[in-house]
């Protein structure tokens, strides 16, 4: 198990390297001078030059890149050009909201999707099944920012049940924290719920045709147990794959929803960073997001082994 973990982490390194390289060079191509943007239009040429030198923006590209890489490997991601904090501080302070949002969205997605998917599989071909499929199609097709607007219109503006936008950290109390996250979590979670429901349905259908289900019924096991104990355990592997992928997607796709609901998460950090040419932030945040991806992928693989003993990662007997 340990060697496998190590190998996977090792394999992740080239990916991190490539992603950071790609983003670095993309940013360099971006027109617009950070120094100018920071100081504003009235700055003199000298002042801009000074700042450029300070920020080492006048060095050749490859030198800037290696400087950055060198520092990054030592854990120093530099200072944000705009905010008064180091990149690492910025990332850490923005991490909380994104993680909360992601977890809540995933919980909503799974809670909706699993029962509906199982129901659709059990009643295959019926009106229930077709309705579930129709809803999942709709859920997958509405862009999340559109759904956000719609939710705001109904729940915040018309019915005044939930706040339009904003954020409160967990330290302000659980309900305070959650009430700002409910609408965005729904906006994000719906599309994922649709995908998970579809996969649940198709995985359950396949499993329900298996011989061991026939055996379980022949033993007199109650239908409820046949579905939840025998079938679901076996169907869970592909379902878990989709849940893992969706969680990954959540970490990234939060950008636009965070922007609409004014949630100070990583997504918003990156969007603002790109708009403001805050290179250091974008570099650092990209690195973080990529690393999170790799890590979550690994965690999901570990989970496979627990769910399905045939897939255990250590050597078989």
């Amino acid at each position: 198990m340990k060697t496998y973990l190590f190998k996977r982490l090792l394999a992740a390194i080239p990916v991190l390297f490539i992603v950071s390289t790609i983003v670095f060079f993309i940013l360099q191509l971006t027109p617009g001078d950070p120094a100018l943007v920071i100081l504003g239009q009235e700055a003199t040429v000298d002042e801009v030059e000074d700042l450029r030198q300070q920020l080492k923006l006048d060095r050749p590209i490859y030198e800037q890149y290696f400087n950055w890489l060198f520092n990054a490997l030592q854990g120093d991601l530099g200072e944000s050009y705009f905010m008064n904090e180091s990149v690492i501080e910025a990332i850490l302070s923005h991490l909380g909201p994104t993680i909360s949002l992601g977890i809540l969205a995933e919980i909503i997605a799974i809670t909706l999707a699993l029962p509906l998917g199982i129901l659709a599989a059990r009643r295959k071909g019926s009106v229930t099944d077709q309705s579930v499929m129709a809803f999942s199609l709709l859920g997958m097709s509405i862009p999340n920012f559109l759904l956000s607007l719609f939710l705001i219109l109904v729940f915040s503006v018309s019915w005044r049940l939930l706040p339009v936008a904003g954020y409160a950290p967990l330290s302000d109390g659980l309900w305070e924290h959650i009430k700002f996250l409910i609408l965005p979590a729904f906006a994000l979670g719906t599309a994922h719920a649709a995908l998970i429901a579809r996969m649940t349905r198709s995985a359950m259908l396949e499993v329900l045709n298996a011989n061991y289900i026939k055996t379980a019924r022949a033993k007199g096991v109650k239908e409820k147990w046949v579905i939840y104990k025998h079938a679901l355990r076996n169907a869970f592997l592909p379902i878990l794959t989709v849940i893992g992928q969706s969680f990954l997607g959540l970490m990234g796709g939060t950008a636009i929803v965070e922007t609409i609901f004014a949630i100070p998460g990583i997504g918003q950090l990156i969007v603002n960073g790109v708009m403001r040419r805050d290179y250091a932030i974008v570099q650092g945040a990209v690195l973080y997001v990529t690393f999170a991806f790799v890590f979550i992928n690994l965690a999901v693989d570990m989970l496979y082994g627990i769910v399905n003993p045939q897939v255990r990662l250590d050597s078989k007997k």
Binding site: N211, K214, A216, A218, G220, V221, E223, V307
Partner: protein, 339 residues
Amino acid sequence: MGGATMDKEPILEVKELKTSFRTERGKVTAVDGVSFDVFKGEILGVVGESGCGKSATAQSILRLYDEKQAIHEGEICFEGKELLSLRPSEMDKVRGNDISMIFQDPLSSLNPVFTIGNQIAEAILTHKNVSKRETYARVLELLRLTGIPAPEKRIHEYPHELSGGMRQRVMIAMALACESKVMIADEPTTALDVTIQAQIMSMIVELNQKLDMGVILITHDLGVVAEVCTRVVVMYLGQIVEEADVKSLFTRPLHPYTQGLMKSIAQLDCDRSQPLHVIKGTVPSLHQIPEGCRFAPRCPFADDLCRSKMPPLEQYGTGQKTRCWHAATISEEGEAIRA
């Protein structure tokens, strides 16, 4: 040959069982008016080619089909209960408890994510309220009963960690968990190596004798039938065409289909220069069942009566039944096959 003392009263009576399925191409009747009895402690063989309805009959007895797709008619009487009219919760109590079943491919028939101990224990706990310790002891006992060595170790193993023969023993152990009165064995050895086949069959016979448990043995292998069964039922295209005790079936097969089957078995000492006997033609699809006697298109003795009217299943002598208009005349010309 198997079978302990047989009572006169049957424990399971199948009466005019019909099972039809709704398919894209219309209604298909896989089991068409099948009737037979199973007596306590006997081994009843159900023989036929693939598609003749023997598996469908077995699964219908336990009502394993999704009843939105499958329609059952007729009666199945077991210990005073009419199985086809039981509610699902009541039927659950019969399955695995009064009547159990083992299937053809033990690898796909066992749930890959649970240990075999867990699965056998489930067979017990579904029907009996027993403590964990008692269950554990009983599981070990069942594993020993079915000849699985080192049961304490095996209990924690997963199906993919066992060999084919071992897995089938586990299936049998599950079937025995509640001391059922009847065990239905649906081609239990077809998916196994020949040497293992013999072991499993002899274990089934042993259990039949020791526990006085009735067995419905579904197979296409006449050799096994000759070795093991007390009585036999031959099926063709959804119907029973002959029923007899095993000796009579092999010495004096009444139905042309049975005779054809007997002749097709290659004997060790047969004349090598002769071609193998084949029943001419192929089994028709269930969507295109012929008029009249279903075997008529392939029967060497068929005439216009056969092709227009379906013969009923009738008694001939003691304990032998056949579905043929000309059984009386054919049997005089019939050949004796050594059992």
